[in-house]
């Protein structure tokens, strides 16, 4: 897989609504940086927030509207 | 004027501006008349792909605030049943005209019958409110169509006009009232803000206001059990309240809805209980019986559902026998029996051969003393 140059992308953070997450794992598998995982309760957790490139794939694929990508100003 | 035309004219005068239907004998003239007339009034006519689509379209149109109707006969009425239940559940006003013909199935398309009385009451599944009216003349077809549209609007519920092939194709002189002098009902509409609006709220028997699509109230309509705002619910309390309020809308206002006509009942020793085309023969038989000195009276309900129990009471309280001539194997007779509760002897006179009763056969039943 091609290496993604983090600095090319604006920094972003993920605003997660845990209450709506059903733990389907789609975001975990689609994240190109592999920074997401499911915690012991089966809910999404961001392991390496500093590596988020704000691509929005997780938000677009989340069937439960639980993820919002917030682009840092 | 023909019965079907009187129905269409009555609907237009009552404010109907949307008609959807599918060709079927013996109701087709209503659709044909509407196809010509609706666009001249700026209203809409659409021939749908079947009767299921027809009733769906009129419910959809009614959601936008249009007074809407369809017309059909037995086979089409059978197809419409699911969506009649939907209109009951979502409280969408609409008029369904069923010009009864011989059944079951395709039956006798050009022959009259009164076999859909119970279907009008219980055709769709689940407990639900029903209003069904039944005219016996072309004149009354006009006035009952106006009344049916009014009741649908007032109670936010589908109303069924049960005609029959005889009345539909009968030509009689009709005295048209000045349409501007008709009293027309409009569904209650919400006032005030969206936050406090409860499109399905209220206590037993209450009729909540209904917003038109496009008014900005953003309502949800669903055939699922729903709460006061319209969101689906599995709550037992919500379910119970909803079903009781829906049926209560009609039951608690039944006195305002039901209507019947009594002829010479004051001194009657025998009563005829009859409706629709059968009542025409019964009226002739009554006249003949009276001329022979028999004290016969007649009760003729124009409301079949809710069943006008009070009408039967006029005969049952005096314990006089009741003859029920009807063109089925005894659908209303069962209701009459139920209300009479053993006080009056109830005798059913049936015809299911597609032929009208002759006054003579009703007279002979009266003479026979059953």
């Amino acid at each position: 897989m091609a290496k993604v140059d983090i600095d090319k992308y604006p920094k972003a953070s993920l605003d997660i609504n845990i209450r709506w997450c059903k733990g389907c794992n789609l975001c975990v598998t689609i994240c190109p940086k592999g920074i997401l995982s499911l915690d012991e309760l089966g809910k999404i957790t961001v392991d390496k927030p500093e590596e988020c490139i704000g691509c929005g794939l997780c938000e677009g694929t989340c069937p439960d509207f639980a993820i919002k990508v917030v682009k840092d100003a | 004027m023909q019965g079907n035309e009187a129905c269409a004219q009555g609907a237009v005068d009552a404010g109907v501006r949307f008609f959807a239907g599918y060709p079927i004998t013996p109701s087709t003239e209503i659709a044909e008349w509407m196809a010509r007339r609706m666009p001249t009034l700026g209203g809409k006519f659409i021939q749908m792909e079947d009767e299921i689509a027809s009733i769906a379209a009129i419910i959809g149109a009614s959601l936008t605030g249009a007074k809407s109707m369809t017309a059909t006969s037995g086979p089409g009425f059978s197809l419409m049943q699911e969506n009649i239940g939907y209109a009951c559940m979502t409280e969408v006003p609409c008029l369904i005209v069923n010009v009864q013909r011989g059944g079951p199935s395709t039956g006798r398309p050009t022959a009259p019958a009164q076999g859909d009385v119970m279907q009008a009451r219980w055709g769709t599944h689940g407990d639900h409110p029903v209003i069904a009216l039944c005219p016996w003349s072309v004149q009354e077809t006009y006035s009952l169509t106006v009344k049916a549209v009014n009741l649908a609007e007032k109670f936010r519920t589908p109303v069924i006009l049960l005609m029959d092939e005889i009345i539909a194709h009968l030509r009689e002189d009709v005295k048209m009232p000045d349409p501007r002098k008709l009293i027309l009902e409009e569904r209650p509409r919400p006032e005030g803000g969206r936050e406090s609006y409860r499109p399905f709220g209220g206590s037993a028997g209450q009729i909540p206001p209904m917003a038109d699509f496009g008014m900005g109230y953003q309502c949800n309509f669903t055939g699922l059990v729903h709460n006061e705002v319209g969101n689906p619910s599995n709550d037992p309390g919500v379910t119970d309240r909803l079903i009781r309020r829906l049926t209560g809308k009609v039951e608690s206002h039944r006195k305002k809805i039901i209507h019947w006509e009594e002829t010479l009942m004051e001194d009657a020793e025998i009563a005829i209980f009859s409706y629709g085309c059968s009542a025409r023969s019964a009226a002739s038989a009554l006249k003949a019986a009276r001329s022979k000195g028999m004290k016969v009276g007649m009760i003729r309900p124009t409301t079949l559902w809710p069943f006008p129990e009070e009408a039967v009471e006029a005969a049952a309280s005096r314990e006089i026998p009741i003859l029920v001539p009807e063109m089925n194997l005894g659908q209303m007779a069962l209701e009459v029996q139920r209300v009479a509760a053993g006080r009056s002897k109830v005798h059913l006179l049936s015809r299911v051969d597609g032929e009208l009763f002759t006054p003579a056969e009703i007279l002979s039943a009266l003479k026979g003393g059953f």
Binding site: N25, I67 | I46, D50, A53, S62, F213, T222, P232
Partner: protein, 270 residues
Amino acid sequence: MPSDIIRYFRQETLPHIWCPGCGNGIVLRDFAVALEKLNYPRKEVAIVSGIGCSSRAAGYLDFDTVHTTHGRALPFATGIKMANPELKVFVIMGDGDASSIGGNHLIHACRRNIDLTAIIFNNYIYGMTGGQFSPLTPRNKRATTAPYGMIEQSFDICRLAEAAGATYVGRATTYHNQLLTRLIVEGSKNPGFSLVEAVTHCPTSYGRRNDLKTPTDMVRWQKENAVWIEKIRDGSASLKEEQFAIGVLHRHNAPEFTAEYLEVIKRARK
């Protein structure tokens, strides 16, 4: 969810009823993004749905919404649009809803070319009732009512719509979010009947029985089997086995039904 589209939802109804990993939520979100792009005044939009998993989508959206009876969403929508042509009417249906019980209504809505935008959530299965085959279930796939594999031919609902007279037909998947949103936007702008097939995934009732064990497997299947129509047209790709075309598959101009009826009114009033 992007913060600005949350306002299109009845938030008290969330989280939705769909299973973990169900694609319906993705289609719903893409639809909401399309509504944001279209930016119609809220009260000018009506959303109609049938019965089934996907048809619950209407109730989550904060517009005038109708959750109708099984298969009948299109005739309800026809009544709404006909009675008030000012409204922008969207129709949400599932594959069984639209192509089986509602199949007749579908072809007639296409034939009339009435200005509705139909979004068909195609998960190839009846999900709400637990996984029976639909007319869109591909041959040889398994369902609870086809335990030995589907032996019937399936519909290509896009070709069906095109043949019946729809003037805008497109297909996207839950993997192709932006395309799906674009098709809904264009479909709504098309003055006539538009059909957008959204290939979605049902991990619970379809994937498990058909060797796609996880939602991820199902989305990957979509990615691998969707072929852009442009590539097929220019000859750089062709459809193999399970593959299907995505993109704008068809469009043509034809008279729109409610506009035609307004002409009828003018004629009748002369």
